[in-house]
């Protein structure tokens, strides 16, 4: 059988061609002998029938050899007939001639059919070889009769090793034998899973299909089976299942709200209605009806218990019907637009803080985090996590409020310390006004009124009135209790204002205050009142530090430096006593060097500066005195401002 030929195609060809040459030679010699016997011997028999042997000999060489040998032997038969019996009357010789021709013809036809059948069989055998699956043929005693390459690969035994062995011994099969027998008996086939062992001892799970072999009489003679390895796919399946289980455990037991959503319809609606090239977010803002329609298309098909609790729902269905999450409050529309736009832009993650309502109408602040799951197509599987930040925001607002109040208290305390200065700063211009008023009247009531002097007096009255009003205005600004307001501030002007407010304090401390500006590139955005409070505080402390110094001038040097890329730096350098211990400690609450001080001034300063995105710093100078200063960013995003207040105490 062709199927039993060796696996090596090259050697098969070689043997075949040698055999062919031998067959050809044999056939020629046989033909010659038959011809001689037929033509020359006196035997009265159908010697030419022997030509069928020649045809059969050449049959393995191919179709052309079969037809060729048939034709040639027919011709030889005819020649021999003509030589011996051409003149014979119609009789036995003619009959033998006819029989011989018919025999040759039948032999040719049968050989051709046999050849075609062999070809088909050979192809089928090749297919079996090519199959990745194992193909094993066993006889009735379970002895292996055929073993393809797939079987070699999978089981690790070569064909030579496997053939003739008992299959159940070789592969230590675990098979449901009764079920198989029943099925084979009934249908002639069985398919199912079996477990076998490889040569290296590995257990294999196989999807196997068995077919009963029967002989022409219908008796069972063995089994043809084909099997495929399921081990890898089983393992992958098991892994997938366990991974899904893990996901589901995490999903269900997470302490934060998690919802599985289908955004595919919503996204399709958004993308279909939006013209190409339009910015998704701004387009949604200007078309709120589309946004709302899309929000209605959001499907929620799963939610964990934390999500149900957060949105005060009893079942997932309530969440879906209520559409609580989105589209109910005007506040949540920008958040939705942000999420849709992010996803439309190809992002698989979007996060935003928004305000939404529960099923019972309670308003909550929530941070929404949307992530597109990898196994969903077109946003059909999106995981939405929601963190309730209501309490955090309330606490934050409380801290902000406290900070504002404390900062205000600090300013009032500061003004209390400055009361003497303030009174003086207001009284001086008031006294001047009175003097000019009285003197103006005198100039006017003189025998020769001097109107030039009168006009001068009136001018001075006006300018002194303004001077007093300015002082009052500065004090009022500091005394005001307002929520922080960002405005564009010229740091140099702010510092000069503070310096003039402290002019008399400086005089009392016999100190000079010098202000130096460098690399200023423009105004900064900050809260004017609070930052001025900080500057006044730093200057007051600097003046205080110089008190009692007798061996050197009392000097305070304010340096405003805008050289850094992102922030402006203000440093107050004094020639005072310096700071004992760690200089940074001065920003701690209740740290004070003054017997009558509370020690909150600089701690409030730190809160103010850090609340505006800046940093405070303190260090002792190389010679004497200390430098206390702060930085403020040139421009910080609005949402970052005041959002991270530091707890004061």
């Amino acid at each position: 059988m062709a199927t039993n030929r060796g696996p090596k195609q090259g050697s098969f060809k070689l043997i075949s061609s040698r055999r062919g040459q031998f067959a050809l030679a044999a056939a020629i010699i046989a033909s010659a002998l038959i011809f001689l016997a037929d033509a020359l011997s006196p035997i009265d028999g159908a010697v030419a029938v022997l030509y069928t042997g020649v045809v059969l000999t050449l049959a393995p060489l191919g179709r052309r050899f079969v037809i060729g040998s048939g034709c040639i032997t027919a011709v030889l038969t005819t020649i021999a007939f003509l030589i011996g019996h051409a003149d014979d009357p119609l009789g036995g010789a003619h009959l033998r001639y006819a029989v011989s021709l018919v025999a040759i013809t039948i032999t040719v036809l049968l050989s051709l059919r046999d050849r075609s059948a062999r070809t088909t069989l050979a192809e089928q055998a090749r297919i079996l070889e090519l199959s990745h699956d194992t193909v094993v043929v066993r006889d009735r005693s379970d002895i292996i009769r055929y073993w393809n390459e797939g079987a070699e690969r999978l089981y690790g035994w070569t064909r030579a090793e496997a053939l003739g062995k008992r299959c159940s011994d070789l592969l230590e099969s675990l098979v449901p034998i009764e079920e198989i027998n029943a099925s084979l008996e009934q249908n002639g086939t069985w398919s199912g899973e079996i477990v076998r062992t490889r040569r290296d001892g590995t257990r294999l799970i196989l999807a196997s299909r068995w077919l009963e072999r029967r002989d022409p009489d219908g008796r069972a003679v063995g089994i043809i089976e084909t099997s495929a390895d399921l081990t890898e796919s089983r393992r992958a399946l098991a892994e997938r299942l366990s991974s899904e289980q893990r996901y589901s455990t995490i999903f269900n037991s997470a302490g934060f709200a998690a919802l599985e959503c289908d955004l595919s319809k919503a996204m399709r609606l958004v993308l279909d209605s939006k013209g190409p090239g339009q910015d998704c977010k701004s387009w949604l803002f200007s078309n709120p009806q589309v946004l709302r329609a899309a929000a209605n298309e959001i499907g929620i098909y799963n939610a964990n218990s934390a999500a149900l609790a957060m949105f005060e729902a009893d079942t997932v269905a309530e969440l879906t019907d209520g559409n609580v999450l989105l589209g109910q409050l005007p506040d949540s529309e920008p958040a939705l637009a942000h999420i849709f736009a992010s996803l439309a832009a190809g992002s698989s993650l979007a996060e935003i803080e928004t305000r939404c309502a529960t099923l019972h109408g309670r308003i909550i602040d929530a941070v929404l985090r949307v992530s597109v799951l990898p196994d969903g197509r077109d946003w059909s599987r999106v995981l939405l996590m929601a963190f309730d930040v209501t309490e955090r925001n309330e606490a934050r607002a409380k801290i902000e409020q406290t900070s504002v109040e404390l900062a205000h208290a600090g300013r009032v305390a500061l003004l209390g310390q400055l009361a003497g200065s303030i009174v003086h700063e207001v009284n001086q211009p008031l006294a001047a006004i009175i003097n000019y008023g009285k003197s103006g009247k005198r100039w006017l009531t003189r025998p020769n009124p001097d109107l030039t002097e009168v006009a001068d007096c009136l001018d001075k009255i006006v300018s002194n009135g303004n001077r007093a009003a300015e002082v009052v205005g500065r004090v009022r600004a500091l005394a005001k209790k307002t929520t922080p307001q960002a405005s564009s501030v010229d740091m140099g002007v702010l510092v000069q204002d503070a310096v003039s407010l402290l002019a008399r304090e400086a005089r009392a401390a016999a100190a000079t205050i010098r202000v130096e500006e460098a690399n200023i590139r423009g105004p900064i955005v900050c809260d004017r009142v609070q930052v001025q409070q900080v500057i006044v505080n730093l200057l007051m402390n600097a003046l205080h530090a110089t008190r009692g110094i007798t061996d050197r001038p009392h000097e305070i040097h304010v340096k405003i430096d805008g050289a850094a890329e992102n922030f402006i730096k203000v440093a107050v350098e004094d020639s005072g006593t310096g700071i004992e211990g760690n200089p940074e400690r001065i920003f701690e609450p209740f740290f004070t060097t003054k017997s009558d001080g509370m020690g909150l001034g600089l701690s409030i300063c730190r809160t103010i500066i850090e609340g505006q995105g800046g940093r405070v710093s303190a260090s002792n100078n190389d010679g004497w005195g200390a430098t206390v200063g702060f930085t403020l960013p040139f421009n910080i995003p609005a949402e970052a401002r005041w959002s991270k207040p530091n707890i004061l105490i």
């Binding site: 006294a431 001047a432 003097n435 003197s439 005198r442 001068d456």
Partner: protein
Amino acid sequence: MPQGSTICIVDDDDDVRESISSFFRSVGLRVESFGAAENFLESSSVANVDCVITDLHMPGMDGLGLHRELRRRGVGVPVIVMTAYSTPEARAEAKSLGAAAFVDKPVDPEILLHDVEAILGDSSQGPPPTFQ
């Protein structure tokens, strides 16, 4: 009215100084004003001044220092000391130096004028000016 007398005002606050100066000029007195004690001491006015009005607190030399310096130089001109923050110690020292008057700021220029007139009119006799 002591017409033609010269009065010097020493005060570092421009508005206070100039407003008093304007008032005194309006009644016909000759007034010279100085922003610092040192400036006054360096000027020629020291020699022929009839009355000095000085602020007590000033950067550099203060009012009492000026007073002492004048006495040290033997200048016996009457001195009126003004202050927004009078302390008993300052008042006592001014008295001991022989200040003609010690007045609290803000000072009413009419009263100041009255004191000045009293001092000028009393260059030899008359009622001594009182400490307020």
